[in-house]
Symmetry: C2
Subunit: 576 residues, 2 copies
Amino acid sequence: MIRAVTLQRYLPFLQWLPGYNRGQAAADLVAAGIVTFMLIPQSLAYALLAGLPAQVGLYASILPLVLYALFGSSRTLSVGPVAVISLMTAAALGPLAEAGVADPVTGAALLAVMSGLILFLMGVLRLGFLANFLSHPVVSGFISASALVIIVSQLRHIFGISASGHNLLDSGISLLISLSDVHLPTLFVGGGTLLFLIFARQWLNPVLESLGCPGPLRSVAVRLAPLFALLVTTLLGWSLALGDQGVALVGEIPAGLPSLAWPAGDPGLWRQLSGSALLIAIVGFVESVSIGQTLGAKRRQRIDPNQELLGLGAANIGAGLSGGMPVTGGFSRSVVNYDAGARTPAAGAFAAAGIALATLYFTPAIAWLPKATLAATIIVAVAPLADLASIRDTWLYSRADFGAMLATIVLTLFYTVEAGIVTGVLLSLGLFLYRTSRPHSAIVGRVPGTEHFRNVERHQVELCERTVFLRIDESLYFANARFLEETVLELLSRNPDLTDLVLVCTSVNHIDASALDSLEAINGRLQEAGVRLHLSDVKGPVMDRLRDTDLLKQLSGQVFLSAYQAWVRLSGNESA
Amino acid sequence: MIRAVTLQRYLPFLQWLPGYNRGQAAADLVAAGIVTFMLIPQSLAYALLAGLPAQVGLYASILPLVLYALFGSSRTLSVGPVAVISLMTAAALGPLAEAGVADPVTGAALLAVMSGLILFLMGVLRLGFLANFLSHPVVSGFISASALVIIVSQLRHIFGISASGHNLLDSGISLLISLSDVHLPTLFVGGGTLLFLIFARQWLNPVLESLGCPGPLRSVAVRLAPLFALLVTTLLGWSLALGDQGVALVGEIPAGLPSLAWPAGDPGLWRQLSGSALLIAIVGFVESVSIGQTLGAKRRQRIDPNQELLGLGAANIGAGLSGGMPVTGGFSRSVVNYDAGARTPAAGAFAAAGIALATLYFTPAIAWLPKATLAATIIVAVAPLADLASIRDTWLYSRADFGAMLATIVLTLFYTVEAGIVTGVLLSLGLFLYRTSRPHSAIVGRVPGTEHFRNVERHQVELCERTVFLRIDESLYFANARFLEETVLELLSRNPDLTDLVLVCTSVNHIDASALDSLEAINGRLQEAGVRLHLSDVKGPVMDRLRDTDLLKQLSGQVFLSAYQAWVRLSGNESA
């Protein structure tokens, strides 16, 4: 298959921009408006979650959206700060800030630039396939555990107490110890917002429906509930001077748009952040691609993972250069963008303009916003991410997958998010390798009246005297080469009057050099014992390689097209 | 299969010692005598190779042999210092000694104890299977490259110059620079010994044969050539006072047997050596097991890898406690032991007694032995390890395997042995994962007149209208789950009037949770497009798992026993 490498390929906006028309623009503008109003509270909240000043979240929602619109391959994905990546940012920056090594704002910008460079480089090298090595259970367990860590970490803002800690145990204990210091006015604001947002999410839709409100309007009302909570509590913060009563407010933030600058940071800091940047890049990429694919599937639009790397890379570099934080495609924001009818990536650019306007004109008001409001926004946004059904399904289906998932969850909850995801990935790869190193094998016989061969222990089958048909259920490679030898030799010792052994290779997709050595050794050992070795059902690509090897030259038996052919020849009886 | 866990299992000597008779003892004693004479020069030489005083090699050939006789599972394996492990010891200790952190003797003993503990622990945990993850090409490339590094490193002793360096580049350049300083008396001894040993190995046998010497005697004569060279050059060293003429001699070494002591070494040193100890343990284990299996096969004796771990672990701990160095099963010594007719592991214990006697009574004489003699012994011993045929065969058979082999060789030659072996292992695992992540797949059709289905592009087959039989040649797991979705969807877009898709699962040995998600997604997407999804040839273990899943409940099509059954049902024509 020849790949058409054109400018269009690397700059996807060239595909849609030339034909951009008024209808599309109108749809995109409407979607952008809704997304903007949803993004303002979310951006502020995720900056808080990452331990950063509120404006950093806004900055990360301007330039990155424009760059993603130019380089990204998804037409509906909406990038910006998201919960899990913000938590990972907090985990990466926390120790550095505590040790006084770097201020978090510089660290966040650097982390974004580094993640961006990693993503962009991976895109250039076409390494998008690496994301496939994160298994669903590991990713799902990681996100569920992260959601729990995030919720517990935000409760301190709801209670108005100064707890700390980066994992469930630290945060939880710290929270319980300080619980007697609960600040009632803060709890009133935070708890009230939380209840309102839960109500909005769970019951606003049915309530509005019973009042005869039309569907699309109801949906918009639900989406804008966080913005409403933000406006009301900001108004309260200002009118009741909540700050004077000890309620933590966002406080004054610099007016105006961010200026572009390469983030300061010495080589030592680059080195210290490199591991975190890599993990943020990969987790962000996986999250973004799966969202993009889910939404793309609905409109039959394909996502190109390598192009996605370029888009997310550019977005993150942009985030870092404009004083932001690491970003990626967010699920809820992308769904809103999609539902609101966004037609092209221009919707993202329009939303960026919306956020820029808000940053220019509304920042003075944001000073009065209670942090508890943002914490409530975060809690309600991440609660659905804890996916208990997926944990249960994994447990029921595969203990091995569940093991990797559990390790991810436990480490994420009780140690660090980075240890959680890394351990999960390594464990799932290790389990796969372990499984393939001790393959299932079966002696097969003929299903009567057919040419089909199945396991003698599971099916009523016919056997052939002095001939054994052995099916090894795995590609033969170095990790199971010795296992193969042992299996065959054990079979030999159990069947002293064997004359023919047929290796049924239906499941053998590859034979590597180590396994070839083992097969040659097996052939020799069987020959010494007076047993002929035959192969059947060898696949085309495997046969291509074997053709010129010593194995085929020295094979004591034959290579049969199918097990049935071997059966006919070796039993000497076609109708057997 | 129930495993009989008895004391005999963990102490294999209980199996042979009770029935030990005079005939066996006589055979063992003869073998031990020959092995002892061969081991003396080898032990001294490998100590030199490891950068250690000569007696360390002798110490490592006493207690370890006794312990292996008690715990090891091979009846003919002979343990002691070997070339590759000695090179790895030199590589581990070199930097420490240069930095003045630890003296090499302490370091070597500590390395032996640590490797021994690692091996013993792996044995207790039954982790013998881990050795399977070193592929043949990587091990073979590593040993070939090590042999070359060893040869170049020993040339300095032959030329009598003080060159340094731990890899081919360092040693080679250092050697070339100092070549003008060549010390002629040393070159005379070293070069003479080298030529004599090469003559003995290549031509002594035919020459003796033409003189009418009987076969067994010829073989012993060839084996004892190094001992002869050692005796002659020691005599020369003493009679000509070669030391006064600048020829490097072994020099005085402590008389008497080593005393048992836990090697000194602070926690910092333990930590620094831990990586090297792990690599030495694993490489030594792999080498030992493959030798044991090769020899065991000839006498139909099985090697138990986990018991081998205990045997080698005990041997190395013993080596460390008695002032020795890391040991493992050596190929040439084991072959000698086997050829000389050793019947039980008692031969090893007898050889230990022989070495102990030599240590007690012959050490004063060893002082006059030129180091050049030992270097020549090493060079002749390791030269056959460079296995160019295996490199060529690997290149011809598999470019991927060759890639891993080449990386191992290049890094071992030009960087460090540890980097070489680690990179080789990781690369071969990575290549396997990469390969399984993008499986081969084929649309298959019926081979006319049979029930057999093969690739449409390779065979003349019959197809079924509006039905496609797709065979994916790999277990379905997280790394190829997305690939599977893409393959099916591309197939769908290329066949717009498809009504049925049969996934032929002959090669699918496992479906993990991620792949199950993908299959459910595929089923849904096909259903939307009006295409039924069927499965055929699902293996027993895979079907057991699938039975209670949503996939089977929601499957739009059926599960067929075989592709032919699906063909009959879907084409509606048994005789088609």
